[in-house]
Symmetry: C2
Subunit: 382 residues, 2 copies
């Protein structure tokens, strides 16, 4: 194995999304059926002759299939996990064939609420079925079928993406050899649900929401979506990281005695909310937060996560971050405990990082070294 280090790592370069059309209906956990759908995806690296080196990377709330590289006509549009994935990077595209896919219900090209419902000729809107992590994983498995991938070398994700990586070990134990579960929880806490609920209420009570069928009204519930993003953003950062980055710094030299922006943190949150509300679909936000709320593999097994994972066979790497208060380390330890109960091959790392939940997206040397070593091990067995 050739020596590798950070200085040799580089971007996968210009990439192109592709679209796969599925005409066979997909039954959702809710009982609803999606008659046909598109999945938008990207791939990096090459599938080897044995078709054994494929890695699926699952996205969380506001990301999608554009995981690494950039678009030729949008050089600044860099994939959301570009620091992790590329030639010489921890998930090395010179060794692995990496697949990123926009999940169903999304708003970046895969079939979702703003797609046209063939039954009505109008956007799905409120009629788009509520989708679950299990449904996403089923759709991802169909994409794998079409790509000729019988078994993934690994499925990897952070946050909601990690829930998909975990669900893979339960839904398709024979089609996943390794699972990398970063910054996850086995189910949301009441507080987690509470934050999602406030975000959803911000959207659904926006007068421009029109019951989810705003597309026909020429408006979007931008105010609600903006608030939802602001709330979410607070939960992604640790109190300490926010204090370190913004503190009580003012935008001008003194407080203004008004309700406009005084503090840098206010300006930052408004900016994040404004940006997000320009490109994200509100119905997708509702669907994705609901998928988070509903994820609870233990529920069907008498609240016993160990039983839920009884069929799992994959090797697992579970990673948490000390300052993550959204899905704090004890939540990852619940997963580890259930995996150990099943005598599965599991490694667990609690990374001492100050950035909160968002740490899973950041380039922390120890975290990246760990993932790199893990993939080295997978590669050695290919």
């Amino acid at each position: 194995m050739a020596p590798r280090n950070g200085s040799e790592s580089r971007s996968v370069g210009a990439v192109k999304p592709q679209t796969m059309r599925f005409d066979q209906p997909l039954a959702f956990k809710s009982g609803a059926t999606l008659p046909a759908y598109d999945l938008v995806y990207e791939t990096y690296g090459k599938l080897n002759a044995a078709r054994s080196n494929a890695v699926l990377v699952c996205h969380a709330l506001n990301a999608a299939h554009h995981v690494a590289g950039y678009y030729a006509d949008q050089p600044d549009n860099v994939g959301w996990w570009d620091n992790m994935i590329g030639p010489g990077k921890p998930l090395d595209t010179e060794r692995f064939f990496v697949v990123g896919v926009n999940n169903l219900g999304g708003c970046f090209g895969s079939t979702g609420p703003k797609s046209v419902n063939p039954a009505s000729g109008k956007p799905w809107g409120s009629a788009f079925p509520v989708v679950t992590v299990e449904d996403w994983v089923n759709a991802q498995a169909r994409l794998a079928d079409r790509l000729g991938i019988q078994s993934f070398a690994a499925v990897m994700g952070g946050s909601l993406g990690a829930m998909q990586a975990l669900q893979w070990t339960m839904s398709y134990p024979d089609r996943i050899r390794n699972s990398i579960v970063v910054a996850a929880a086995p189910k949301l806490s009441a507080q987690n649900i509470a934050f999602n609920e406030v975000a959803r209420q911000a959207i659904t009570t926006d007068p421009d929401f029109h019951g989810g069928d705003y597309y026909g009204h020429g408006v979007v519930p931008r105010r609600g979506l903006r608030l939802a993003r602001m709330i979410g953003h607070i939960t992604y950062l640790s109190d300490d990281a926010m204090m370190e980055k913004f503190g009580r710094a003012l935008r001008s030299d003194q407080i203004g005695f008004h309700f406009d922006v005084d503090f840098e943190i206010e300006s930052y949150l408004r900016h994040q909310g404004d940006k997000f509300s320009e490109y994200f679909d509100a119905n997708t936000y509702l669907l994705i937060t609901r998928a988070l709320d509903y994820f609870d593999p233990a529920a069907a097994h008498g609240d016993d996560l160990s039983k839920a994972l009884a069929a799992a066979k994959a090797r697992l790497l579970v990673v948490s971050f000390t300052s993550d208060w959204r899905f704090a380390p004890p939540r990852s330890r619940e997963i580890v405990k259930a995996l150990l109960d099943n005598r599965l091959d599991v490694s667990y790392a609690e990374i001492d990082a100050p950035h909160g939940h968002d740490a899973f997206l950041l380039e922390d040397a120890r975290y990246h070294a760990l993932v790199r070593a893990w993939f080295d091990g997978i590669h050695a067995k290919l």
Copy 2:
């Protein structure tokens, strides 16, 4: 001293709010001046002949002057700190003369945004000056003047109320002998400000806000106020307490695959938001959250809290709660450190309580015993 125990404690009974009119202008920290104003207040117990047994109780965000007892025509309308204050209770109204006052900018009778601005003959609305903790304390001191109280035996409060109790030691060191500072912070963190900002944005972007002058439009920004309350409520409870109280319990026997209420926590938050938006004034919410943001006594002293407290003379009791993540124990310890730097007589207790920030309002045996003992000590010196 007669023995007392919980079984002997009782309500102060039926109480009546009173209104004090002030015709002398009050200058605010912002530079604005309130030409005249009313303060609504309640008192319990009797001011002794030496006028030495008065205790001022300061309210936090959504409370007011109705601290203990009930109203004869509204027997269910019990004061917000009734478990703490009454005959035989930790703050014993058989020994102390207790004063509760609705702060300026409030919406429960004291002059605030919904009061009529004499200059225009219309509600103040957006023209009501931004008010600070210092301004509130100045107004409280004027009320004390009118009540013939030269010096308070104690000023007491939790959360924002505690900030007022602390400000008293700095603004009027010769008029306060004891300060009880519960669940406080010496200034808000970036995360604290962030939550306030999202709440304010929910209100000010509600189409019914009309720039703060909604009174003339026959509407109130109820949607925004409801969201603000929901957000706030999450921060008052600990993750553990929420999990204990609500968990992932469902309202019906199964999830509904919709965005209506599935989980008990959703129902609870919506109910809290609905209730609050029925009675609270949105402009008051803006003012009070801004007073929280702006409270930072160290700022005028080179960010040195010890210097800010250099003039303080009071004895202090500082109390924090282990599960309070809004104003966590380390925030109280910052205050204690600054008090000790000034060689002040300070006691600090960190109460192991699961309820989060709201613990300051709840009847925890150790917490109440501590406050009771503290007031016993004050009484012994009267």
